[in-house]
Structures are given as C-alpha cells and as structure tokens.
Symmetry: C2
Subunit: 121 residues, 2 copies
C-alpha cells in the first residue's frame, strides 16, 4: 500500500493502474521527437499553408503566382513559404527575378490525403 504510491488522492488504491502508468510512461518517445512531430503538424494546421501545398501539388510556381491563386498578399505568402521551407516541406530555386517553389517531401500528399479521409467521414 505504501510502496509504489506515487500520487496522493487520485486512482490511489489501484495498483494495476500504477503498473500501467509506468509501462506507458517508460515507452513514451523522446521529448524532442514529440516536440518536432507537433511542430510538423502545426505547419499543416493553417488554411493558407494547406492551400499553398495544394497549389504546389499541381505545379511548381513563383511566389507571385501563388499569391494570385490564393488571392492574398505577396508578403503573407512569402512569410508562410518561409515556414514551409523551414519544415522542409517545400524548396525553392531562382529563375531570373523569380523564385520558384516546389514540394520537397514525398510524405506530404499521403499525410494530407489521409487527413482528408478523416475529415470527410
């Protein structure tokens, strides 16, 4: 009763629960890995960025055209492209005055289409 009694007033007398708690807690992935994972999904968690990714599925495109497709300011798009690039979801190359953006990850479309399946239910 006194051994393994970590928490004071909640689920207290249940030894089975305590076993389960340690079992699950010990198997939790690294803090940093979970943080990175959450950061990745955070990037998908914005309509503008989702639209940009959708756009780049179709074709690589310069910043100005992406802004035109989405009907948003060049600055707003540029800021979001930076976020996407930091997450290694897009890459860019220069073509004269323009910077051409394209998708930089094979998992993206799978992740998104899987999310869509869930949403559509």
């Amino acid at each position: 009763m006194h051994i393994d009694d970590k928490h004071a007033d909640c689920c207290d007398e249940n030894v089975v629960h305590d076993d389960l708690i340690h079992l699950v807690a010990d198997d939790m992935p690294e803090e940093e890995e979970l943080y990175d994972l959450a950061e990745l999904f955070k990037v998908f968690g914005d309509t503008t960025r989702i639209k940009i990714l959708y756009t780049l599925f179709k074709s690589e495109m310069c910043v100005c055209d992406i802004a035109e497709v989405l009907g948003m300011s060049q600055s707003a798009i540029s800021h979001q492209l930076r976020v996407l690039k930091q997450a290694k979801l897009v890459r860019n190359k220069r073509d004269g005055k323009q910077i051409i953006y394209s998708l930089d990850d094979v998992h993206i479309s799978k992740i998104i289409s899987m999310g869509l399946e869930h949403v559509k239910e």
Copy 2:
C-alpha cells in the same frame, strides 16, 4: 494584353502564368473542406495532445492515469481531451466514477507514424 490582365504589376506580361493560375485556382477544394483539414492538423500540433494520443495507442485509460503518465494536472488533460473528442480522435465511456478514454479513429496512427518518418529524416 488587356484581356485576362487580372493583376497590375506582378507577373504581368506572362500569359502562361495566368493560364496556370486559373487552372490551379479552379481545382482548389472547397474552402470549408480545407478549413476542416487545417483544424484537424491543428489538433495534432500540440505536444500534450500528441502525448495523449501516444498514451492511448498503448491502452485505453482514465483521465487521472493519463495525467499521471504525462505528469500534468487533471484539468489540463481534461481540457485537451475535450479538444481531441471534438475532433473525433478519441471517445469515452463511463466506468463507475471514472471516465475511460480510447482512440476513435483508424487513421490516427497512420498519420502520426507518417509524420514521424518525415521528422526523423
């Protein structure tokens, strides 16, 4: 030159770009669907919620035990479980005094493991 000249000073003379813009813009999914998709990913975009989902992969569990596994307050966990439930990612059932939470979607583990693949690269 005057026809199809939607934007004033950017990518202006390039008719090919204008074609591309309309092609891509017309194929964009419904605003509401994209919004829902972003909302779904937003739910994954928090370390606490990711940890809760990871925990529930292992086993269904009462609120108090989840709080214990994560070393967080019961209130914080309860708030987050509500978010997860609204997103239909978890469900609950009553068992006496306790409420037992479990995963409520087959896509979740696929989505998360795919995200992990990307992060690990």
